[in-house]
Symmetry: C2
Subunit: 402 residues, 2 copies
């Protein structure tokens, strides 16, 4: 037998074991100093840090604040270059002067979630009690815990009522939790590409990601920091699997199809022959440079545990929104199969049953779940329109045209 | 801070590094002894083994043979207990006396694909030239190569014309390749839950699986057999990711929903709280006991490379079936998102354009891609009806009622 392939094998994903950048720049507030925060698990945490960024100016009556809640792998650098990657903020398209979330009119706050890895206390941060990272001694947290931590931040900023809480994906889970938990502290709420509970399929995808991380020997049972290692390969695989779920079959076909990467014919090997393979490997290897593997475990777990009907409605979602004064906007995308429209409809039906004010829009797009991060003109019109209408009701001053 | 979780972490997937069972029982034929088989890559292979099983009796005119082509992780033990797992054959529900593929009437042949790991030559088999497994020196193969090997087996069995070639998923790819490559050797062809080319999304999912295997240090750049190791954790992760794609959101919701595994409440840890997690871990750990990681790389690659229009039609799929005498049946399932109905429709349109005889049925089910392996009464009626009608045309004797 002769072989045309030879023995060369490149596994493709190049990863580095270098530690993540510690202490990213930006605002940081110590919370829970007087009384620790009691978590859903029963554990307590405090004092702890919340890292946050803002865009725009808080008005004199502190009435124009929008809290933007980030998704699983997002962070507080929503509308400015990312301090680690140097790339534009994850929602740079949506937040800024004259943009849908108009920083000439609104004051935007974005905080890294509890359990995150960009400055808010999470498994990679130093536990002051022992002088080394928490790792898996960090308590398992929930979406409710993330929101409780954000609420302490909003208290600390002296904001009585948020004009709007707004977010996509896991951000939408936080939006719903905010509205259910602190309805008097929220004027409007916009839940984009979200769900009121994590589906079995989504738990399954998260479990694959966690298993990929835990299967990496460099994970060291969660104590990689103690051994100067990082489970970069496992985290890259987790990211690659997840990334497919953020797109759509059609978007992948449109972007890549079966096009080959820098070659005229397949190589009969395991190198990245197809552009889509090369793209995916790139997604994996860049992600590990900015994200902590244990944070990935904790945040996916928080999403898995999210079940608003059970947690705040005795099994009936409408109960979670009983007598809610909050004005809701729910948005879904036709090609989103991770958080499909049926999940948004479930939220809308519950809000209707609770006689809450809600508008619902399903945006036609082939971009999949990631559509909320992209330049989707119809979506931006909905976002801008909802905020503008609510701002009129709330009496927030119009943007001053220079 | 106090933690309710403690430090115990179970990664869940228990895997063994024990070698796979070598030399499974059953028929084996040495092929390519006189002239080696030339592969699509340009490499040659021969002599090589094909391992196969049969069910039913070949009639006197050798006219009642059905070749069943297996899917990615299938093998030749289609309708009998699996020699490694002891579980029923993967298509036990469909093949047997009085079943849709009626072994009282038809003679069923199922052969392990080239590159497989159940006795047909593949990366885990011993290369006689060096006395140890091929590993990555095994040439990268294509669906066309698998079919060319099967055709040598059919020649060796003295079967002039197969009554039917039949298969689901990767099996359907082989069916289409058979019909396009050897139309005079096939009377009827049934392609179930298949496609005429692998989509970008499917290549992406395969790439995740391969990266999971290659990220496992026990893979040892493909030479794990030399080190007494097996990349069981990586292969288990690959299987878990793939397994989700074989089901559907709705099926997972129906089967598991958010039900907890043997507990009343979540544990605030990373153990398998949810039934769907436990199920997925089980899928991963049982798979690695019967499958070779390098075979997984080779067979996924063969699927990625499959593009019948390009390979056999100069870019036009209908050309691959020009003047085909074969009677086709194409079947898809409504909830199959891995090989969605649109892929089957593409095949049907090409067959129509080629003026070939084709019937097409889309089966309503929530079972996802795996529906072809399950007890789906409407699907079984279609299968049995198509085979019965074609058998009448082919003059195959009816089942003798005892």
């Amino acid at each position: 037998m002769s072989s045309a392939t030879g023995g060369t094998v490149r596994t493709g994903v190049t990863t580095s074991a270098a530690p993540l950048t510690a202490n990213p720049p930006g605002q940081r507030t110590v919370l829970g100093r007087d009384a620790p925060l009691r978590l859903a698990s029963g554990a307590t945490i405090g004092p702890f840090n919340v890292a946050w960024q803002t865009y725009g100016t808080l008005d004199a009556t502190r009435s124009n604040a929008i809290l933007v809640c980030h998704a699983l792998t997002g962070d507080q650098f929503a509308a400015e270059p990312h301090p680690v990657t140097g790339r534009p903020g994850w929602w740079d398209l949506a937040i800024g002067p004259g943009r849908p979330i108009d920083t000439d009119r609104y004051f935007v706050i974005c905080a890294n979630v509890l359990g995150g890895c960009m400055g808010t206390t999470g498994p990679r941060e130093i536990d002051p009690a022992i002088g080394e990272p928490y790792g898996l001694t960090f308590p398992v947290i929930t979406i409710g815990d993330m929101v409780a931590a954000q609420k302490l931040l909003i208290d600390a900023l002296g904001i009585e009522r948020l004009f709007c809480v707004l977010g996509g994906s896991m951000g939408a889970m936080q939006v719903l939790e905010w509205a259910a938990r602190y309805p008097e502290r929220v004027f409007a709420a916009c839940a984009i590409a979200g769900a009121a509970r994590h589906s079995a399929q989504n738990i399954a995808f998260h479990e694959v990601g966690r298993q990929a991380i835990m299967a990496d020997p460099d994970w060291c049972a969660g104590e990689y920091f103690r051994h100067g290692k990082r489970p970069a390969r496992g985290l890259a695989v987790a990211r690659m699997a997840a990334h497919i779920t953020y797109l759509s079959d059609r978007a992948l076909h449109r972007k890549f199809g079966r096009s080959l990467q820098d070659r005229q014919a397949v190589t009969f090997g395991f190198d990245a022959d197809f552009q889509v393979e090369s793209y995916l490997r790139h997604q994996g290897s860049t992600f590990v440079e900015r994200f902590d593997a244990n944070s990935y475990l904790y945040i996916t777990r928080a999403m898995d545990y999210f079940d608003l009907a059970q947690d705040r409605g005795d099994g009936v979602l409408a109960n979670a929104f009983k007598a809610s004064p909050v004005r809701f906007c729910v948005v879904s995308f036709t090609s989103d199969w991770l958080f499909p429209t049926v999940e948004s409809r479930t939220i809308v039906h519950a809000l209707n049953a609770a006689a809450a004010a809600v508008s619902f829009v399903e945006i036609e797009t082939d971009a999949g779940h990631d559509a909320f991060l992209l330049d989707e003109p119809e979506f931006f019109r909905v976002l801008s329109g909802f905020l503008g209408g609510a701002a009129e009701l709330a009496g927030i001053a119009r943007r001053t045209v220079a």
